[in-house]
């Protein structure tokens, strides 16, 4: 029972990441009609906002110690962190909280990246076939990851979570069980809560603001909205920026779970496209539902008991479920008629 509960928790935090990326993908597809294969790269760029902020916060003053030499005969380096020297304990806390603080950096950076990407490249492909959109955005993703590799190297770069969230929560004790039966990392619980908040905020923005109402109207009937004098293109550009921000902050918060490297986006890209298709192209609730559902299924499929019955099922479960769902419901779980059917 405890194993099932733990795998359920695993599925929730994994599903949270899938849902956040798929949400951004669906926003772009629903508004602009663009199949954006560079969306995974936006998740990766967000993660590298966290890396960059930490690099800035941990910049060090280097003093050469001429009396002590390295094994290769050069003076050893004595390093002190500027921030900690200048601000003392406050500086130490800044470094400690570098990952959550990086959200403040990622929001404007990703907004700019999203808008520039849309205005500079994507808009030229609005009326082109989806195959061409896929090719150009996939190419863009490769360019972005090679740029990151050039500046940050190919190795993963660890990003520690705040020290007070580094341990594991004894959820079993909270539920009246013996200690150490159900323990789960604090940061994974934080990530799940974070993904729920971000998803809720995006839905609230679209549901309860005038801007969101216009965007939804544009998604339903772009021409009619244009006919009443609203510049829907600008709003859709803003939505592309918003999708980039959602992917970026998701990437920032994921860094303590998976030390980021240049390839991080590609690791998620295919999976999240499956999530979008299973949820129904253009359906925001469908993307979220499918994200969590596939995350949970993937976790359960990794259980030893399940793998003993069907070896290797953990590696194909998502695609297997996708095939079954698409056979039963060709438009996905919550897909609407007419989307990608022209």
């Amino acid at each position: 029972m405890d194993a099932i509960f733990l795998q359920f928790l695993n599925g929730l935090d994994k599903g949270g990441a899938y849902a956040l990326i798929a949400l951004g993908l669906t926003l772009v597809f629903g508004t602009l009609g663009v199949v954006n294969f560079a969306h995974g790269a936006l998740f990766m760029l967000g993660a590298f906002c966290a890396v960059t902020l930490r690099k800035i916060l941990t910049m060090q003053k280097v003093v050469l110690d001429e009396e002590n030499l390295t094994a290769w005969g050069t003076p050893t380096e004595i390093r002190t962190t500027y921030v900690e020297t200048w601000f003392g304990d406050f500086g130490t806390q800044l470094v400690n909280y570098s990952v959550p603080l990086a959200i403040l950096l990622a929001i404007p950076v990703m907004l700019v990246v999203g808008v520039v990407m849309e205005r500079g490249l994507i808009k030229h492909f609005y009326r082109r076939p989806h195959a061409e959109q896929i090719l150009v955005t996939f190419g863009l993703a490769i360019v972005l990851q090679e740029i990151i590799k050039h500046y940050f190297g190919a190795n993963p770069i660890p990003q520690p979570m705040p020290s007070n969230l580094a341990g594991a929560a004894d959820i079993g004790v909270m539920m009246g069980m013996d200690p150490n039966i159900i323990v789960y990392p604090w940061w994974r619980l934080v990530y799940f809560a974070f993904s729920v908040i971000v998803i809720g905020a995006v839905f609230a923005f679209l549901q309860f603001t005038t801007f969101g109402m216009v965007v939804r109207a544009g998604m339903a009937d772009r021409e009619t909205v244009g006919l009443i004098g609203i510049d829907i293109d600008k709003r859709f550009t803003a939505m592309f920026g918003l999708a980039a921000v959602v992917a970026g902050v998701a990437g920032v918060m994921y860094t303590p779970l998976l030390p980021p490297d240049y390839h991080l986006g590609m690791d998620f890209l295919v999976l999240t496209f499956v999530v979008v298709v299973v949820g129904g192209m253009g359906s925001l609730p469908g993307a979220v539902l499918a994200g969590f559902m596939l995350g949970i299924l993937q976790s359960f499929a990794s259980m030893t008991e399940i793998k003993a019955i069907i070896p290797g099922i953990d590696q194909i479960i998502i695609y297997l479920v996708a095939v079954i769902i698409l056979l039963v419901r060709p438009r996905g779980l919550l897909g609407r008629k007419g989307v990608m059917e022209s």
Partner: protein, 448 residues
């Protein structure tokens, strides 16, 4: 009575026999030698080209870059540039800093991408188009085995880089392939006794294993070594290479009854699985009345950087570490550090040594002719290149030398001080019978 003179005289019989012997024995040698001088990429000018096949893109690009630095340094030293590095400590040595057999050493590079097909294609290109006489490098057993097979077909010597699977010099060994790096069996044999000393003989181990040739042989070796100690293997679980998030494989460990987690992972998988295992509180956990332990059988300093603080106190094994104090290691670290500003990795060390060993074998053979060079390497004993006295065993082309058991530094004194040597396990403890892993080396002579 008249003596018959018409039969064969004793002298004629002897002359005939001698002529026959000469024809049967010497002539083929002459013919073979004449034929033998014609081989692929025989150097005709004043230089000889070596091919360095390393991952320049992909997940192991940083390791590949370090290998390439080592190759460049080795070429410099062979050509008499720089401080000479291990040319000054290698014993015995026929190298003089005058290239190889008087020919200046040049090199070309290829990108393995850590993919077998790409690695074979780049090796083939270097052999066929660039005229490479020897291929070296790589950061994966899958790649090493694939390239080694190609080199056997093409009659080009392959001096493997970082490859740790037993199969490379076991069931997939080849006459034209040589491995200086240690293997999974040696990791198990070296780590086993240290694990017994540190964690006792009453332990229950859970394995997470990368699902490919290296992972399988690493798991088998660790399983054999720990079970020989009296440990029980609770479960062995294969994980997909590049899984990223290992949480669904780690949670079953929590209540499995195991008190040791052995991570048969390398590279990004090692970084991710170790980081996540620590996040799940495994290192702070008690199981069966003991402190829970994590073991990483194959450590690399470059990869350890990715795991950050999570590597502290974790036991593992490594082929070589820059902190070794023998003259060869110090000479190499000094040359490499002076040129690049940081110490070399174990991948760099093995690639540097392999290049020098190949060059030395050519000098000793007095020829670039591959079968002669192979014979010079087979059974060759040397010292002064780190890890003490070493032998290239003739039966499987595996180097035997001391193996290092290391622990993640608790209090690093620099950004490079990530692994502390716990024990230098003597070669005798990690040796094994070449026949246990099967395989056939194949012929010396191959048709071009």
């Amino acid at each position: 009575m008249t003596e018959r003179k018409d039969g064969p005289s004793r002298r004629r019989v002897l002359k005939g026999a001698a002529a026959g012997l000469v024809t049967a024995g010497v002539a083929p040698t002459i013919i073979t030698s004449a034929y033998a001088q014609e081989y692929r990429n025989k150097p005709t000018g004043d230089s000889v080209t070596l091919g360095f096949n390393v991952p320049q893109t992909g997940s192991y690009a940083d390791e590949g870059a370090d290998e390439l630095r080592a190759f460049e340094l080795a070429v410099e030293h062979l050509n008499g540039e720089g401080d000479g590095g291990m040319l000054n400590t290698m014993q015995p040595s026929s190298l003089t800093g005058n290239g190889i057999l008087g020919k200046k050493v040049a090199y070309v590079t290829g990108d393995t991408q850590t993919k077998s097909d790409a690695a074979r294609a780049s090796a083939k290109r270097m052999i066929e188009k660039d005229g490479a006489l020897m291929i070296s490098g790589g950061s994966s057993s899958g790649v090493a085995i694939a390239v080694q097979g190609l080199c056997q077909e093409m009659g080009t010597i392959f001096m493997a880089g970082l490859t740790h699977s037993n199969d490379t010099t076991g069931k997939d060994k080849r006459r034209y392939g040589f491995r200086h790096f240690f293997n999974a069996y040696m990791s198990g044999a070296a780590l086993g006794p240290v694990l017994g000393e540190e964690y006792g003989t009453d332990r229950r181990a859970y394995h997470l294993t990368a699902d490919y040739t290296w992972g399988w042989t690493q798991e088998e070796s660790m399983k054999n070594a720990t079970e020989a100690l009296g440990w029980e293997t609770v479960e062995t679980v294969k994980t997909p290479v590049g899984a990223g998030d290992f949480s669904q494989y780690i949670t079953p460990v929590l209540n499995s009854g195991a008190d040791v987690l052995i991570l048969n992972h390398y590279g990004r998988d090692m970084v991710n699985s170790l980081t996540q295992a620590v996040q799940f509180g495994l290192r702070d956990r008690q199981a069966n009345g003991k402190d829970f332990q994590i073991v990483v059988p194959l450590f690399s300093r470059l990869m350890a950087q990715g795991a950050g603080d999570n590597i502290k106190g974790i036991l593992g094994s490594t082929n070589w570490n820059w902190s070794l104090q023998d003259a060869g290691s110090q000479a190499f670290v000094k040359s490499f550090g002076a040129k690049y500003g940081f110490p070399p990795s174990m991948a760099a060390h093995t690639c540097y040594v392999q290049t020098l060993l190949y060059a030395d074998a050519c000098e000793r053979a007095g020829s670039f002719y591959p079968p002669d060079v192979i014979r010079a390497l087979e059974g060759h004993k040397f010292d002064g290149m780190g890890n003490g006295a070493t032998e290239y065993r003739a039966e499987d082309h595996q180097c035997f030398k001391d193996v290092l058991v290391v622990r993640g530094s608790e209090n690093p004194t620099s950004q490079f001080d990530l692994l502390n040597v716990v024990k230098q396990v003597p070669r005798s403890q990690v040796e094994y019978d070449a026949s246990i892993f099967g395989g056939e080396l194949g012929p010396y002579e191959v048709s071009m």
